[in-house]
């Protein structure tokens, strides 16, 4: 608007109209974008829902007790998941026993002990780098190292160690985050009454970060449960009609370790195997297995997220 000449009444009204139209347009853009944004967000959720409903609808015929107590079979209708879920459970046990102590210890070292130098930087770069390595590369590592060089064979031990290495970065990162949330004052208070470093760490740091660590462990284990590619790569058998020797025996010493070197299959491999057969009857089994895997992983992840929410809400330093 020109400041020298005073605007006529008509032009002011005309301009006002234009300005109002512009404001309306911009507000409309806001609303349109909000709707588009909401849709973009919903796409993931809708896919997840469709996926789950699709699996349940395809596979509901197989949801019966026999499905969990039968071995795989050449006939789709009598094939079951027994060896797969037992294998999954045993592999997860090994994964848990390797990833959790190592991951927590590494996290403690990096947060509480590591001096600020190139050495610690090297470790940190490696941890964040490992988190970005595709899972199938872990499978190749395991195939070369565990299966052939260390000669563990295509066993539960190999699979468990592989998945343990795979989720190690997840456990390390969540441990570090949980530890970082503890105020320095807590440590200083413990030092002030004469505690040593390890006493501070084990009695206070670990104790107060337990919840956060647990969250990371659950998320990591859920990831390990659904992970397929590395296990296929180490050459897990897909047709297993036997169970590994029981880890617990009735005769002394009550525990045996033969199961570690046993052949095995796991749930996602069993699903992949059924899925890659051309016969549609096996696809029904695959769908049922998929529904079970998705349910278990969603439950685990849901628990972890809920746990984290509770911790954040409850702790006020």
């Amino acid at each position: 608007m020109n400041s020298n000449t005073s605007p006529t009444k008509a032009s002011v009204i005309e301009n006002l109209g234009a300005v109002r139209a512009m404001i309306r347009r911009h507000k409309r853009n806001d609303i349109i974008f909000a709707i588009v944004g909401l849709l973009a967000l919903m796409l993931g959720l809708i896919t997840l829902l469709t996926l789950f409903i699709d699996l349940v609808m395809d596979g509901y015929a197989r949801f019966n007790p026999q499905f969990f107590t039968d071995y795989p079979s050449r006939r789709a209708a009598s094939a079951g998941l027994l060896s797969a879920w037992v294998g999954s459970a045993l592999v997860m046990l090994v994964t848990f026993l390797t990833a959790v102590p190592m991951g927590v210890a590494a996290g403690l070292y990096l947060e509480e002990y590591a001096p600020k130098n190139w050495f610690s930087d090297l470790i940190e770069i490696n941890v964040s780098n490992l988190a970005g390595v595709p899972s199938i590369v872990y499978g190749l590592l395991a195939l070369g190292l565990f299966v052939y060089i260390l000669d563990f064979g295509q066993s539960i031990l190999t699979a468990g160690l592989t998945l343990g290495l795979l989720i190690l970065p997840i456990v390390i990162v969540s441990t570090r985050e949980a530890i970082r949330a503890i105020p320095v004052a807590i440590r200083e208070a413990a030092y002030a009454v004469g505690a040593t470093k390890w006493q501070v760490v084990s009695d206070h740091v670990v104790k107060y970060s337990q919840g956060g660590i647990l969250t990371g462990v659950i998320i990591g284990m859920a990831r390990a449960l659904g992970e397929t590619a590395p296990i296929i790569t180490i050459g897990a058998l897909t047709f297993i009609a036997f169970l590994p020797p029981s880890p617990v025996t009735t005769t002394p010493p009550f525990i045996n370790f033969e199961w570690l070197s046993s052949g095995f299959t796991v749930l996602p491999i069993q699903m992949f195997n059924w899925l890659s057969r051309p016969d549609h009857a096996f696809h029904i089994n695959a769908a049922a297995t998929g529904a079970i895997i998705i349910l278990v992983t969603l439950l685990m992840n849901g628990t972890a997220i809920w746990l984290r929410y509770k911790i954040r809400k409850n702790i006020k330093w």
């Binding site: 507000k27 993931g44 996926l51 397929t228 590619a229 992949f272």
Partner: protein, 317 residues
């Protein structure tokens, strides 16, 4: 007199050597040192894993490149290491990998970015608290289940639109992979946008800009390095993704960039070979390590570029 008492005391000290208290301190210090060493070893396992991965891949690939020239590897247009008439050109696998990744990104980049803008600039605090955990749940869904979805749900759906689409195709695998990557882009890009200081938004609003204008013209440009880093890290994810493509994109190496065709990716090839029973040390066995090395270099490259973009080009406010 004084001299005498001093000698007496020193004699006395010689007799008892070390006081129990001091001995306890020494033990305590030794224990502390041992614990620190154990924790450090656990942290070093990350470095060891990286070295082991690189070592195994290089070692087995070296065996492969004794038989196959590097020039043939990168220029030949056929990949048939398991055939009688073997050709070793990685290009068909790379084209498959890039095509599926491109389809995935074509979906995930726009949707993920819009979702991130919505989450960061439009959604209320409460909505964000609800939506982010759901996105996390989506990340936790095992990929083999998404493979089922791509093969038996999305492909039949797409075949209704494109009747000539083959049962295995890169389009449906890529699209499903894209949905998997959306939460990843959304959360990394949202973090970058939230890091933009509030005062910049306030400045924009004070000038009369709407939410949409502020989001597009102020916040997004300010966070562009973080957003681009999210895209690059997403490429790395897509390139390394295995089960979806192994199930739904087909296993036939095919030098094409047409997503409507079926083709094998690097990861799908590794899975295919590992499913069979290849003797240790054969050229087929070594070929999956060479393929794995290419995959590792690709993902590592994208990861490094992503981190550099995020670190180096971050706007400092």
């Amino acid at each position: 007199m004084t001299m005498n008492s001093v000698t007496q005391i020193s004699n006395h000290a010689m007799d008892i050597k070390i006081s129990p208290r001091l001995a306890k301190n020494v033990r305590r210090n030794v224990k502390e040192r041992i614990i620190e060493l154990i924790l450090m070893l656990a942290a070093l396992s990350a470095v060891a894993t990286t070295f082991a991965i690189v070592g195994i891949l290089l070692y087995e690939s070296l065996g492969f490149f004794k038989t196959v020239s590097v020039v043939e590897f990168f220029t030949a247009t056929e990949w048939t290491p398991l055939f009688e008439d073997a050709h070793y050109g990685i290009m068909p696998l790379i084209s498959g990998t890039l095509t599926t990744s491109a389809v995935a990104l074509a979906l995930a980049v726009p949707v993920g970015t819009i979702a991130a803008i919505y989450l960061s600039e439009f959604a209320s605090h409460k909505a964000r608290e609800i939506v982010k955990p759901i996105l996390e749940l989506l990340v936790g869904v095992p990929t083999v289940v998404f493979g089922y979805f791509a093969l038996l749900f999305v492909t039949p759906l797409l075949q209704k639109i494109f009747p000539e689409l083959p049962g295995f195709n890169m389009l449906s695998a890529g699209l499903v992979m894209g949905v998997m990557i959306i939460p990843y882009i959304a959360s990394v890009a949202e973090d970058a946008m939230r890091a933009v200081p509030m005062s910049m938004r306030e400045g924009s609003y004070a000038m009369g800009a709407t939410r949409f204008q502020t989001a597009i013209r102020v916040v997004t440009p300010a966070a562009v390095s973080g957003i681009v880093a999210a895209y690059i890290l997403a490429i790395s994810r897509a390139v390394g993704e295995t089960m979806v493509v192994a199930v739904a994109a087909g296993q036939q190496p095919n030098l094409t960039f047409n997503p409507m065709e079926s083709a094998a990716t690097i990861t799908a090839y590794i899975v295919q070979v590992a499913m069979g029973d290849l003797p240790h040390g054969s050229i087929g066995y070594q070929s999956i390590f060479a393929a794995g090395l290419v995959l590792m270099v690709m993902t590592l490259g994208f990861n490094i570029i992503g981190h550099i973009v995020r670190k180096k080009y971050r706007e400092q406010y």
